[in-house]
């Protein structure tokens, strides 16, 4: 447990460093705000529409694939730690699992979900 307290101390110190910089920058420095200056940057034009528009669904797809494949990849870690003890049995079990993972990847690939220009 004490190892996690060490991490917590590191977190407090790191956050304090970052927080100190943020406080310093909001205290020091000029504050002259007027409406034109505070517009979001758009190469000199005033923004006409809100930037919170719809964006390509591909990004959502990538996020979904990541969740699926990452959860599957997480299963490989406990196996990897115990690999030497599990021996041939563990190896074959994992190969079956990785095959299923690979079939999933091939399915996604064949359905064209990894193509960006469709």
């Amino acid at each position: 447990m004490s190892e996690y307290i060490h991490v917590l101390i590191m977190l407090v110190l790191a956050a304090a460093t970052a927080g100190g910089m943020l406080v310093a920058t909001s205290l020091i420095g000029p504050k002259k705000s007027f409406i034109d200056k505070m517009e979001p940057f758009e190469c000199g034009e005033s923004p006409i529409v809100s930037p919170k528009l719809r964006f390509s669904v591909k990004f959502y797809l990538v996020a979904l694939f990541f969740v699926i494949f990452d959860i599957e990849a997480v299963y490989a870690y406990p196996w990897a730690v115990l690999f030497k003890e599990l021996g041939l049995f563990g190896f074959i079990e994992m190969m079956i699992f990785l095959t299923i993972l690979a079939i999933g990847l091939i399915y996604v690939w064949r359905r064209g979900a990894l193509e960006w220009d469709r």
């Binding site: 190892e3 996690y4 060490h6 991490v7 101390i9 590191m10 977190l11 110190l13 790191a14 460093t17 970052a18 927080g19 910089m21 943020l22 310093a24 920058t25 909001s26 020091i28 420095g29 000029p30 705000s33 505070m38 517009e39 979001p40 940057f41 758009e42 190469c43 923004p47 809100s50 930037p51 919170k52 964006f55 591909k58 990004f59 990538v62 996020a63 990541f66 494949f69 990452d70 990849a73 490989a76 870690y77 990897a80 730690v81 115990l82 690999f83 030497k84 021996g87 041939l88 190896f91 994992m94 190969m95 990785l98 993972l101 690979a102 990847l105 690939w109 990894l114 193509e115 960006w116």
Partner: protein
């Protein structure tokens, strides 16, 4: 006794933090110098001899700048998103062992801030967390460039998280532990790069993508998105993104050293020096690729990650397992 240990820990943490931030600050100077040399010019050379005061001058300049928050921005998220990137990058350094245990007055002092038994998972978890800094910072700015940069950054970082994680599975198989201290100890005879060259290359490429450097710097592509997710940030908030990026480069260098190059192990020189030397190779590599390679297109970037790196990483796990079983008979 308990108090002494606590003071020692604080001291150790503070030293690591200072060295890390110092190295990151000077890495910016080194990068500008090297890029200058690659392009046959001098680079910064006005602030002090060879420009050695440049990082300090930059820091003072940043802190004196106005802290602007654009109209319509999500003020709370906008204010704190930069801190996430820097804090997370610094926190990864907590599990990196930088020397063998020191014996001081009969006490055994571990030369690592925290020898977590799930060290490797901690590293992967934190490097996923830095996606939040990028995506939230880009989203909260209320600017189109920032939003595009933030989304691109998020998609790219989660995509390359997979090969990054999968390339470390063989390392765990060889070492039989998640603890970074144990992984370094397992490399007493030979560094893992000798037996795992493919995993090493995959990890290095995924690390370049994770740190959003050329040729994978789509989230902040200057000539299409101005500065991507940190377009609207100014002053120290902008500087925190920068510090986060350079600390991340240093930490990735240290991780490459720990996982594949034998960590602090090496002849003649002190262990800490070996670790820093090995860790600096990766930032140098990243700067070199920045000077050499053009930027990829976004579809090429995604295809490369999903269609090439992930299958190779999976095959590498299979091959490693088969060879390990065969050698054991």
């Amino acid at each position: 006794m308990w108090f002494l240990g606590f003071v020692l820990l604080l001291l150790k943490t503070a030293i690591v933090l200072t060295i890390l931030l110092g190295l990151a600050a000077y890495l910016i100077l080194v990068e500008r110098k090297l890029l200058g040399r690659f392009q046959i010019r001098f680079g910064p050379n006005r602030a002090g001899p060879f420009g050695i005061w440049q990082p300090i001058a930059d820091g003072i300049k940043m802190i004196l700048k106005e802290d602007t928050i654009p109209q319509g921005a999500d003020r709370v998220v906008f204010k704190y998103a930069p801190a996430v990137v820097a804090t997370v990058a610094i926190l990864i350094a907590a599990v990196i062992p930088f020397s063998r245990d020191a014996i001081l007055w009969g006490y055994d002092i571990p030369m690592v801030i925290s020898d977590l038994n799930v060290g490797l998972l901690y590293v992967l978890a934190l490097s996923s967390l830095s996606v939040y800094g990028v995506a939230l910072g880009g989203w909260a700015s209320n600017s189109k460039y920032s939003l595009l940069g933030g989304i691109r950054g998020a998609a790219q970082m989660v995509s390359y998280e997979l090969p990054l994680g999968l390339s470390l599975v063989p390392v765990v198989m060889l070492a039989g532990s998640f603890s970074l201290v144990d992984i370094v100890n397992a490399q007493a005879c030979y560094p893992f790069v000798v037996v795992q060259p493919i995993a090493f290359v995959i990890f290095l490429i995924a690390a370049v993508a994770e740190s959003k450097r050329l040729p994978f710097d789509l989230p902040e592509a200057e000539n299409e998105l101005n500065a991507g997710y940190h377009t609207e940030f100014s002053g120290m908030r902008f500087a925190l993104y920068f510090i986060g990026e350079y600390v991340h480069m240093m930490v990735l260098g240290a991780l490459v050293a720990v996982f594949f190059l034998g960590g602090w192990r090496g002849p003649w020189l002190p262990p800490v020096v070996w670790l820093v030397l090995k860790a600096l190779m990766v930032p140098f590599f990243l700067i070199w690729t920045r000077a050499t390679l053009p930027r990829l297109r976004y579809d090429q970037l995604m295809h490369f990650g999903w269609k090439l790196l992930i299958p190779i990483a999976l095959l590498n796990i299979l091959a490693t397992g088969a060879v390990m079983l065969w050698l054991r008979g």
